[in-house]
Amino acid sequence: MAISNDILIRVEHLTKSYNDGAVLALNDCNVEVRRGEVVAIIGPSGSGKSTLLRSLNLLETPTSGAVYFDGVNLADPSMNIDRHRQKMGMVFQHFNLFPHKTVLQNITMAPVNLKKKTPSQAQAQAMALLERIGLSDKANEYPNMLSGGQKQRIAIVRALAMEPEVMLFDEPTSALDPEMVGEVLDLMRSLAKDGMTMVVVTHEMGFAREVADRVVFMANGAILEQGTPSQIFDAPKDPRLRDFLAKVL
């Protein structure tokens, strides 16, 4: 899991405001993600963590600033964002599996419709992915038959089926019952071990500390501190980070 010096995502002066600037959701954020790196974004709720993450694949349109991915600025309106999103998997808090499709169809839909794979190739790949997470017996079930943990693992696998260069996780365990958090974190841990580049918005401090290469702390839409887990958790400098850690640890 070597982290290269190759910068995969670079966010420059990213700002997002609502109501003609009355509400500032993101305030001049600058962050870099290198290939193979796991970056955890932490901070109190409403701090802009999710907004920042969702700006990386333009689910949120930034008001100003740039998001460079593979060297191109995604925030440029003339950019074909769909092509770049194919290389950026995303996992949501509420899973967002497609309820009218079976597990297998959920996984194969994008690769087949985007002509990345033939239906039989996509199916073989989906079965291999399901095998990996021990859910191959659920291939023909509908999402409503699954537990929260199973749904989220399948949502992760659905994103992986596009063979992305980076995976974005938006509070992936926040909507889960406590006994199901472990299985999802285990899968994320194993992805990290395989060298997947990951950006994870999380409230799981244990996970951030153990798995992340770098931790980013946000409050009020701004990045206040970033560093290695030991720098952030053992020697926090910013008073708001200290205050936050005192509350959550």
Partner: protein, 242 residues
């Protein structure tokens, strides 16, 4: 009138004086077929324009949105009878239709204007049904589809619309039922559907009430089972839902 007169004294205003039936049963069967054809063809023709109108209504482009909004407002705020008259005497004054009989009893030159008017009217209502259905699909579904790299239209077609259509099935069923009933208005233009047949039979046989009672029965026998059937389909489709 004692109550047992209801069945014995078959006067011209008796509820159940169906003595016209031997002579006019065929006319009613044809009226039944005419109504069904009118309603089903109209709603089928309305679905695609309605979907288009709904998508236009949800567009970010103001002009596109405005055109759709104006169309919907126009057709929902004027009576169907007025629309039918304008389309029949206005639009189809300039369009020459052949005098062909479809299935031997449906005059094309009256049927087509009727279908066009009903479809145009219905598409305004169905558009609003579709719009509500699309908006009722969780926002996360579109986001998940887009995050996989699918285009806006692919996400709409593969993810949002299938769920939206499922959401609106009961409302759509109501629209078909409504159209079966509303199509009775076409009788004023001489389209030989159920209502027109009842009027004609009442006029010819001097039995003034029972033909309309029969018409009511026929309408009921179309609409009630139809709405029940669609409810059943909806229940089956819901199996995949969360």
């Amino acid at each position: 009138m004692p109550w047992n007169d209801l069945f014995t004294n078959m006067g011209n205003t008796n509820f159940f004086n169906f003595s016209f039936l031997p002579k006019y049963a065929t006319a009613f069967v044809r009226g039944f077929e005419y109504t069904l054809l009118l309603a089903v063809v109209s709603v089928l023709l309305a679905v695609v324009p309605a979907l288009l109108l709904a998508l236009m209504r949800l567009s970010k482009n103001r002009l596109v949105k405005g055109i759709s909004g104006a169309y919907i407002a126009l057709f929902r705020s004027t009576p169907l009878l007025v629309q039918l008259s304008i389309i029949y005497f206005g639009l189809f004054h300039y369009i020459e239709l052949p005098r062909i009989l479809l299935f031997g009893f449906i005059a094309i030159n009256r049927f087509i204007p009727g279908v066009v008017a009903l479809a145009l009217n219905s598409s305004a209502y169905v558009a609003e049904i579709f719009r509500a259905g699309i908006l009722a699909v969780d926002k996360g579904q579109m986001e998940a589809a887009r995050s996989l790299g699918l285009s806006a239209w692919q996400s709409m077609r593969l993810v949002v619309l299938p769920q939206a259509i499922k959401n609106v099935l009961p409302a759509l069923a109501n629209e078909v039922v409504t159209m079966v009933k509303e199509s009775s208005i076409c009788s004023v233009l001489g389209m030989a559907e159920i209502m027109y047949t009842a009027q004609a039979v009442a006029g010819n046989s001097y039995i003034t009430l029972a033909p309309y009672v029969l018409a009511a029965l026929i309408y009921f026998c179309i609409n009630y089972p139809a709405s029940k059937a669609i409810e059943a389909v909806e229940r089956r489709m819901r199996r995949g839902d969360k």
